[in-house]
């Protein structure tokens, strides 16, 4: 195996506009508060195995990051009021969606992360399970009734604790290369 041909730089490479057509998985915009945006700051995703062009992905810039945060802040007024059954329904749909696209997801992981296809399929199956469990757990966010009558004179008081949504969350995954 020719090592020189397959060495891949750790530096992220900018995409050349003409090249997107060759990318096996195609070209992706950034998903910004529900909108797909091709920012023009596009980078190449290359196979860690053979440096083949896997995808071209448009990166978010400062405006898109702000739009994501502002969108999430507005959307919280909706998501915080979603009833359990609706959250569960959405999570079940995501689980079913991943299952329906199992091989496509597995191939994507194998291509961009260099994870062996067998292992990638197991990861996809795990995601199907995770969203299914989340659908179940979304209906079980329980609270407490707390007896307050520990002191004389507190007999007339009752306390309830509810668990409420926190607000917008960021999930950040840094380069997996240590």
């Amino acid at each position: 195996m020719a090592t020189g041909d397959r060495l891949r730089e750790s530096v992220v490479r900018k995409a050349d506009q003409a090249g997107a057509g060759d990318a096996e998985l195609g070209e992706f915009g950034a998903l910004v508060a529900g909108q797909w945006i091709k920012t023009g700051d596009a980078i190449e995703v290359r196979s860690p195995y053979n440096d083949a062009l896997v995808a071209v992905v448009h990166r978010a810039g400062a405006d898109e990051i702000e739009a994501a945060i502002a969108g999430a802040t507005r959307a919280f007024e909706v998501t915080r009021l979603l009833p359990s059954w609706r959250r569960a329904e959405i999570l079940e749909a995501i689980s079913a969606g991943i299952k329906a696209q199992r091989e496509d997801f597995a191939r994507t992981i194998a291509l961009e992360a260099g994870k062996p296809i067998k292992t990638a399929r197991a990861e996809v199956d795990r995601a199907v399970f995770t969203f299914k469990v989340a659908a179940e757990e979304s209906k079980r966010i329980y609270g407490e009734i707390v007896p307050l009558d520990w002191l004389p004179g507190t007999e007339e008081r009752m306390a309830f604790v509810r668990r409420v949504p926190l607000g917008p969350v960021v999930a950040s995954l840094h380069s997996i290369s240590r």
């Binding site: 992905v57 994501a68 995954l173």
Partner: protein, 320 residues
């Protein structure tokens, strides 16, 4: 990825995902599915970006929780800049596994051959250090090396491949440098120890010392280092001596050893009769020490992504 997104939706929180720069596509495809499933559109973003441009995601107080997976250096640095928000950090490990004299040795070897090399060791809970009792050391090592030599290395798209490439050249060169350091210090390469581009051959090292980087730092590559012990208490202390504390493994049938290990080893989780690499998404999962803060696992992540709100009622019986 799924184990961060799913609890946020279950909890009723909008989520912004900033994927790793090398692996954005699976996150983008998941984002598409989240949209299609009917989650409010503005409540899902997947924003590949440079660390610099992503700074507001860490620093802005409109964000209420940051859940980060990555290296300790970056993780603790981001926590320092996170302002008022909650922070969950998953920062890796150099997991230790003990194989005691009463272990099912063949099973332990089978699990170490899986847990040390799955995804080329690029998992926070990958097995990195194995402490085997002297009485079963040779049997364990022979069994393990035999299994590791049968692992198929190569093209991730090939159905028979067990071990693919490391994520990039920098990773492969780093593993190579650490192995060279170990060998220079007297370590023995029982199998592997070679690089081919970004592929690193699954490696088992013996005669290692705790100061070697392959032992005390996170190798994040397909490599397992072996120690031999006679005193189980010393082995337990050695597993615990790590700066990291995510998960550990212990193969034994002896309940008092299990109890001692569970008391002593400062980790998020101790896996008995399995390797550190065992994980299911509904169990509480997370690290202590350098390995991080907070817990993942559906119910536990939902707790982190919600907060308590108290309502008290004073049922006054006033004058009529």
């Amino acid at each position: 990825m799924a184990h961060k997104v799913a609890p946020a939706l279950a909890a009723g929180d909008p989520i912004i995902i900033r994927p790793a720069s090398q692996t954005p596509v699976s996150a983008l495809k998941l984002g598409e599915l989240v949209l299609e499933a009917g989650w409010p559109a503005e409540a899902i973003s997947v924003v590949p970006s440079t660390t610099q441009l992503a700074a507001p995601l860490v620093e802005d107080d409109r964000i209420h929780l940051l859940t980060f997976t990555g290296s300790p250096a970056v993780g603790w640095m981001l926590k320092g800049r996170s302002g008022r928000k909650r922070v969950t950090l998953e920062l890796g490990g150099n997991a230790g596994v003990i194989v005691h004299q009463d272990a099912d040795v063949a099973y332990a070897a089978e699990r170490v051959a899986w847990g040390g090399f799955s995804y080329a060791g690029q998992s926070c809970i990958s097995v990195q250090r194995v402490y085997s009792h002297a009485d079963i050391y040779e049997e364990f090592v022979d069994n393990l090396v035999g299994r590791v030599q049968k692992l198929v290395i190569g093209d991730p798209l090939n159905e028979s491949t067990d071990v693919g490439p490391l994520i990039d050249q920098g990773a492969a060169e780093r593993v190579e440098a650490w192995v060279q350091e170990a060998v220079a210090g007297g370590a023995e390469v029982l199998t592997g120890g070679q690089r081919d581009g970004n592929l690193w051959y699954p490696t088992v090292l013996a005669s290692i010392q705790e100061e070697m980087r392959v032992s005390c730092q996170e190798v994040f590559g397909p490599l397992v280092g072996l120690y031999r012990y006679t005193d189980i208490h010393a082995a337990i202390r050695a597993v615990d001596s790590s700066d990291f504390g995510l998960q550990a493994g212990l193969f034994t049938r002896d309940w008092s050893i299990i109890e001692e290990a569970f008391q002593q080893i400062e980790v998020g989780g101790l896996m008995v009769n399995d390797v550190s690499t065992f994980r299911v998404d509904h169990m509480p999962y997370g690290g202590v020490k350098q390995s991080g803060l907070g817990r993942e696992g559906l119910r536990y992540a939902i707790e982190e992504m919600t907060e308590m709100r108290l309502l008290t009622i004073h049922n006054r019986t006033g004058g009529s």
